[in-house]
């Protein structure tokens, strides 16, 4: 099982693989190598946390302290929330956060719905062209979205959808990789469960809704989380399609709109910290699913 071959989406976690390796027989729990390993690990972790901690520290300084180049963690004037207050009183951050929330949720729901439906069709239903259509969908996974920005933008221009929510949302709902992942999952659900219902005369949709979907909650949750994160953090397309500052998502607003007062380092950091918070909270709540999703399916790899 540990030599399982891999494609982009095959599982690499064997059932029953332990999460935590106890110290091995013959190895002292506090042996020098273990202590050294711990020290290196701690150093790495601190190193990895530092940039973000530094951003937070800067956000709690006064503007003068931040601009002074003082390397200490707390500014000479002491910690303050004035940078946060300034950012929050401008009102932009709320608008952008709301836009991000609403559009990411819409992308997630729509993607989930259409991908699950399509995946079910590929998994269970027979129709002409099934095979080659599936091949086309899989092949399209390799298409980098960056290649399509010109024709997509042109399309949105033509339909007068520049600077609209739907112009932002719709191109993001096409995620062939999710169709593939969901199909694989559906394939693994024993057909007997559905057959029983079919024999009782249930329609396909009924079966899909009442049997298959409830059994698929874990994968649906994973797909939902990753699509949501991807949509929330998406920069390129929202950056192109939205010019109206009241419609911008958080990442785009942060990058595009600047203060009339020039570079205000503490405020920039405060804004960045605020923007980071939603997904950090998502991570803390959904840690298990996220870690599992990445590990098992290479989710979020692109």
């Amino acid at each position: 099982m540990s030599t399982a071959t891999l494609s982009q989406t095959e599982t690499i976690t064997a059932p029953g693989a332990r999460r935590r390796r106890p110290h091995l027989p013959g190895q002292k729990p506090f042996g020098p190598l273990r202590v050294a390993a711990f020290a290196v690990l701690a150093l790495l972790a601190i190193g990895w946390l530092l940039p973000f901690l530094w951003a937070i520290a800067t956000a709690f300084k006064t503007e003068t302290d931040a601009a002074s180049g003082d390397p200490s963690w707390i500014g000479a004037t002491g910690p303050t929330v004035e940078a946060f207050a300034a950012i929050l009183s401008q009102g932009n951050v709320y608008t952008w956060a709301f836009n991000s929330l609403w559009t990411s949720a819409a992308v997630t729901l729509i993607t989930l719905a259409i991908s699950a439906l399509a995946a079910y069709a590929f998994s269970r239903l027979n129709f002409t062209g099934r095979k080659w259509l599936f091949v086309v969908v899989i092949a399209s996974i390799i298409v980098p979205p960056q290649v399509l920005i010109i024709p997509l933008f042109y399309q949105m221009l033509t339909f007068n959808m520049i600077d609209t929510y739907w112009g932002l949302i719709l191109p993001q709902v096409v995620v062939p990789a999710m169709v593939f992942i969901l199909k694989k999952f559906f394939d693994a659900i024993p057909i007997e469960l559905e057959d029983a219902a079919r024999v009782d005369g249930a329609s396909r949709f009924r079966i899909f809704w009442s049997i298959v979907l409830p059994l698929s909650r874990p994968i649906l949750a994973s797909v939902a989380i990753f699509v949501f994160i991807g949509a929330w953090n998406n920069f390129l397309w929202p950056f192109l399609v939205i010019n109206d500052t009241t419609l911008m998502t958080l990442p785009v607003g942060l990058q595009t709109v600047i203060s009339a007062y020039g570079v205000q380092y503490a405020q920039v950091m405060a804004q960045a910290v605020l923007a980071a918070l939603p997904l950090i909270i998502v991570f803390i709540i959904f840690q298990k699913q996220i870690v599992k999703g990445v590990a098992t399916s290479g989710f979020g790899g692109q």
């Binding site: 010019n243 570079v263 709540i285 699913q289």
Partner: protein, 445 residues
């Protein structure tokens, strides 16, 4: 064989309550104040720093003085990103009601249909016409017969100097003005003398990573040779190599680490002068406010004429009407009124250092009283704009290309002649291309 339910109830509840909380918070955001009939006009500009503060207070003044409209400004980062966003908004048909553009950029844009032109009669009714602007500034707003931009100001590249440091260095004359220098060697000597009295460098000049800054100084020096770079579409760039190399070499001499710091970017040069460490600063007039707020004793003067012909680099901030597919007539009307109001009140803009384009303001007694503005007001007569071409102008890739070609000369001592050749090659490449806003030349001016 049922897979365990991974999403626990606790997780679901936590997530939904947070989402609800966020939605609630969004509702608490300061919304738009809307009196029943006040129209909100979206106004985009790229002014920040000292200028941003001044513009904000001008807008507050305009907003406070009447009820018919309320300006909602958005500030975007100066340079290429601003123009790209504005173009995309114009192409999308949902652009802001009014925006600021540099006068030198309008020429490249107009053929693309991204701008609507100004109605001369409507402007005249509001007291804005040819007679109220200096001729070259008014003319610059035209493409063919149509007026596409109305200038708010002219903002030249100037020299600011710390009066205490320069006084100690003995380079001031009896009325406190900087002694005139008329050749590069004289100027370098003056700088070295100032350097002796300054606690830091003699001169602050920020250029690192900033093509616009490099171009501003360069082109002023080049134009002082009595030359103007020509960029005829479909032809070859006309550049006097000797003058160009001479100007660039002079810049290189300045950045020897003694006269000026070898690698300053824009922000640190400003900071160096504003904290009183250096004797002089090369910058645009737009930093006047910053220096006044810094509280140092300083004055300003037109950039010294080192090569014979008085010339200074300048551009203008101008109002444009981004194209809208369904222009709201009421808002258009109010936009005209806004522009007229702002022009008439632009004495505040003069206080920020710019030379207002609106003559009734510059010819007023209040303006004559403004120091140090009055000390460089003569620059308005000697301004040179970027050579006219679709790819030139402030914040254009032309200025960035210049920076890319010559930064090595200033930062690492590369060969100036080779850099000018590189720059010329790039200009020729651009000239060989049609204006991409109108590749088939279908637009009629």
């Amino acid at each position: 064989m049922t897979p365990p339910l991974d999403l626990s109830r606790r997780q679901f509840l936590t997530a939904s309550s947070l989402a609800a909380g966020a939605a609630l918070l969004a509702g608490c955001a300061p919304g738009q104040v809307s009196a029943s009939d006040t129209q909100t006009l979206q106004f985009w500009h790229l002014l920040s720093g000292g200028d941003g503060v001044t513009m904000s207070s001008l807008l507050d003044g305009v907003n406070g003085a009447q009820d018919a409209y309320r300006i909602r400004p958005t500030v975007l980062a100066w340079g290429t990103p601003y123009y790209t966003k504005l173009a995309m908004a114009g192409a999308g048909g949902r652009a802001p009601d009014v925006a600021i553009m540099h006068a030198t950029r309008v020429n490249g844009w107009a053929p693309g249909g991204l701008l609507d032109d100004w109605d001369l009669d409507r402007l005249a009714d509001l007291g804005v016409d040819k007679s109220t602007f200096p001729a070259p500034i008014w003319e610059k707003g035209f493409v063919g017969d149509r007026l596409f931009s109305v200038a708010l100001d002219a903002h030249p590249f100037v020299m600011m100097f710390n009066t205490d440091v320069c006084d100690a260095a003995g380079v001031l004359d009896t009325d406190g003005r900087l002694r005139e220098t008329t050749s590069p060697e004289e100027f370098l000597d003056q700088l070295r003398t100032v350097g002796g009295a300054a606690s830091g460098h003699a001169l602050s000049y920020g250029y690192l990573g900033d093509g616009a800054q490099m171009w501003r100084l360069f082109y002023g020096l080049y134009a002082q040779h009595g030359l103007a770079m020509e960029l005829p579409l479909g032809g070859k760039a006309v550049i006097d190599k000797d003058a160009a190399v001479e100007s660039l070499t002079f810049m290189q001499t300045l950045l020897d680490g003694e006269i000026a710091a070898a690698q300053n970017d824009y922000g640190s040069a400003i900071a160096e002068f504003a904290t009183g460490k250096s004797g002089m600063l090369f910058t645009g007039v737009w930093e006047l406010r910053t220096m006044q707020n810094a509280g140092i004793p300083f004055d300003a003067a037109m950039f010294p004429t080192l090569y014979g012909t008085p010339a200074v680099y300048a551009d203008s901030h101008s109002f444009v009407l981004p194209h809208q597919t369904n222009a709201d007539e009421t808002k258009r009307e109010l936009t005209y009124q806004f522009v007229a109001d702002l022009l008439k009140g632009s004495i505040g803009w003069a206080e920020a250092g710019h030379i207002p384009a609106y003559l009734p303001v510059t010819e007023s007694p209040e303006y004559a009283d403004l120091i140090p503005q009055a000390h460089y007001a003569e620059a308005a007569e000697h301004v040179v704009y970027d050579p006219t071409a679709w790819f030139t102008g402030s914040g254009s890739s032309f200025q960035e290309d210049f920076g890319a070609a010559v930064q090595g000369v200033l930062l690492s001592g590369d060969d100036p002649a080779a850099a000018i050749d590189r720059f010329e090659a790039r200009a020729n490449t651009m000239l060989a291309q049609p204006n991409p806003a109108d590749p088939e030349g279908t637009w009629k001016p």
